[in-house]
Symmetry: C2
């Protein structure tokens, strides 16, 4: 999964609290309809932390996204407050005021400058925030901060919407002789779930990394993880990934010319890929995870275009759901992607078995291909036959359950 | 539906045989698995006819598409043979030879030059054509050509795959004092159905129109009809629309500077839009038809991009299926389309009711919006708030039945 399996990189249990110097909480404030569900999360760095963030490219953005982009300009933050159950998107100037009020409430409770508090929201679009509940939740969360495994889990749970399970990852590795950690928690099930929204990821590290390098690292890691997954091709108004670097590990601050930079990049990539994989596996109604690997492309863009077309095709996704080795759908999706390809040289492997060679069917028995398609983790390797570039995208199948979740739910 | 409701434009029953000077047949050749289903269609012009054609833009194209493009260069043809049940796509050089053999079989049976016979195929991808059956079918069809309403219907039926009903349209109108007709038949249910494929349309007219003008007319009409519909965003390897102009009406051949050109364009548009609408209404698993009208765009391209993003979003389509006025999904799909828009000025009407204004919810009661969403024909009018351009796309809902058709079917 990563080129960074050196420098003693090893997985750790837990998420945002795996690195030292952070506290967290997850509480129930009654924002979600279901009684007693955790819906306000709070993550605090004990020290001033470097900040990196990447956000949705949707032109329709939630209030919190616009707000966080302002905070990001300073490159430093102390706390992140998250609510689930309401996206605070398409809510106009009142929405903006509510986001500012959430930051102010955290700042007041923790005696921090309001400008160092980030806000993230996920849930229903177009509804006013129930600010009484939110502010009560913030007070409760501020009072219950801690750094135990329970706090780590409660935070991870408070950010969920239609997710069926929490999503966490953490690693430990050496940076110039100092042991440092990176951890994270994420949510996301549909890119937009039943009128709930969004992919969120919150990442922490106890390494000392200046904001500019941290931003480069997060953008790079997001590009090969969160930006390479698709459940339903519908990108959200609220997508947010934030990374806080507190420096509690005591390493010498990473420099742009340090050979250790690649190590840090690799470790962050590993955590982000793990979280992205967990999101796909928990995609709405998903029963199978599919890795779509396109190679032989004329350019990276072409490879990505073809991989996305395959991963987003409802016909490919329903074939995966039915366990049907319907390779014509995969090849024809690459065909309409706009990527340059040579139909007479195209190849397709389903896991290790050739399903299409030189643009035509192979003599692999259909029963053998069907056996591969029945596995819960699938890889489609598509060769476009015109170059040397490759890209990978992860997706899941499209099931009746997806329709049930998204059609039967009413706003 | 059209600006051409003048010159006495009126709808006629029937399809490809509504214009004079054509004969057709539809027979069963055993290509489809189900016993006795019609699967070979033949359409013949009594006179040499001008020819126009538009084809899939998929880089992976069926043998018949490549072949027809060659025929189109001459701008004239006499016959079209169509088989359903096998797409003859991803079949390499053998596929090409089979297409040529189909044309040759028609030419031999009807004593025509092979270069004036067009071929279209639709059905399973990547399987060899059962040429014995196909050639027997062609002989049978050639022997049973006729111009009765039954022949018209049999042809329309022979081109279907997962379609649940035939799709035909025809009009009559005056061209400089001469009564002329345009008719057509189409198939298409998924852009690719259960390993079946394709949108096909076959159009005839008894007007005399030179090939170049005919091609302009067909391209224009296809652009506002077949190219504006989406069932599942998966474009086929075999999409083909062909138009034959035989001239039996006896009008003076249309000239490029004739004021009647607009009348002919309008009438052809009407037929193509009718067929496109019938395809959407019969989309796999469809229970509702949705017209997505985007206005206030900075450019036509932007309007189309936003309309397509909305029409292709599985979350919008499942909301339509569930009858849920989930306007956040519609607005956010426009948001990620790449079209320029002003979130603070966006508006959305569901039929005539405002659901979103200035980027926020309106006070239209949710129950009233839900009533509109429950109708079988819906219009979403989305104003991007930045310009004056508009575009319209038609789509259908995404239902459990779509999953059933496409996941449970096995190749």
């Amino acid at each position: 999964m990563s080129s960074a399996d050196n420098n003693g990189l090893r997985d750790l249990p837990g998420g945002v609290l795996a690195p030292r110097g952070f506290r967290a909480a997850g509480v129930s404030a009654g924002i979600k309809i279901a009684q007693g569900q955790l819906d306000v999360g709070l993550l605090v760095s004990d020290r001033p932390a470097s900040l990196a963030g990447v956000f949705t490219t949707n032109a329709v953005r939630a209030a919190s996204v616009e707000y966080d982009k302002q905070v990001l300009r300073r490159g430093a933050a102390r706390a992140i407050v998250v609510n689930s159950g309401n996206a605070n998107a398409c809510t106009g100037s009142q929405g903006h005021r509510d986001t500012v009020a959430m930051a102010a409430a955290v700042a007041a409770a923790l005696a921090l400058p309001s400008s160092e508090v980030l806000v993230a929201s996920t849930g229903i679009i177009g509804e006013s925030m129930p600010m009484d509940k939110v502010e009560t939740g913030i007070a409760k969360a501020s009072a219950s901060l801690g750094d135990t495994p329970e706090h780590d889990e409660h935070f991870a749970r408070a950010i969920l919407t239609t997710d069926t399970r929490i999503k966490r990852a953490a690693v430990e590795f050496e940076l110039a002789g100092t042991t440092v950690r990176i951890g994270g928690a994420a949510k996301g099930s549909g890119m937009i779930a039943p009128n709930m929204a969004t992919m969120l990821a919150f990442l922490t590290t106890d390494a000392a990394v200046p904001p500019k390098l941290l931003q480069t690292a997060l953008r790079r890691a997001a590009d090969v993880s969160f930006n390479r997954i698709t459940v339903d091709s519908h990108s959200s108004t609220n997508d947010t990934a934030l990374l806080l670097a507190g420096g509690a590990a005591g390493n010498r601050e990473l420099a742009a010319d340090s050979p250790d930079l690649a190590v840090f990049f690799g470790a962050l990539e590993r955590v982000c890929r793990s979280l992205a994989g967990q999101i796909i596996a928990d995609g709405e109604g998903a029963t199978r995870v599919v890795e779509v690997h396109v190679k032989g492309a004329a350019s990276k863009d072409d490879a990505l275009r073809a991989a996305r077309a395959i991963a987003d095709s409802p016909l490919v996704k329903t074939a995966v759901n039915g366990g049907d080795p319907n390779w014509g759908r995969i090849v024809s999706a690459a065909g309409y992607s706009g990527a340059r390809l040579d139909p007479a040289r195209m190849e397709l492997l389903i896991n290790a078995l050739p399903a299409c060679r030189k643009g035509q069917r192979t003599n692999t028995p259909k029963a053998k291909l069907a056996q591969e398609m029945a596995k819960t983790h699938l890889t489609f390797t598509v060769d476009l036959g015109v170059g040397d570039e490759c890209e990978t995208v992860w997706t899941c199948d499209l099931s009746r359950e997806y329709i049930a979740i998204n059609a039967d739910y009413h706003t």
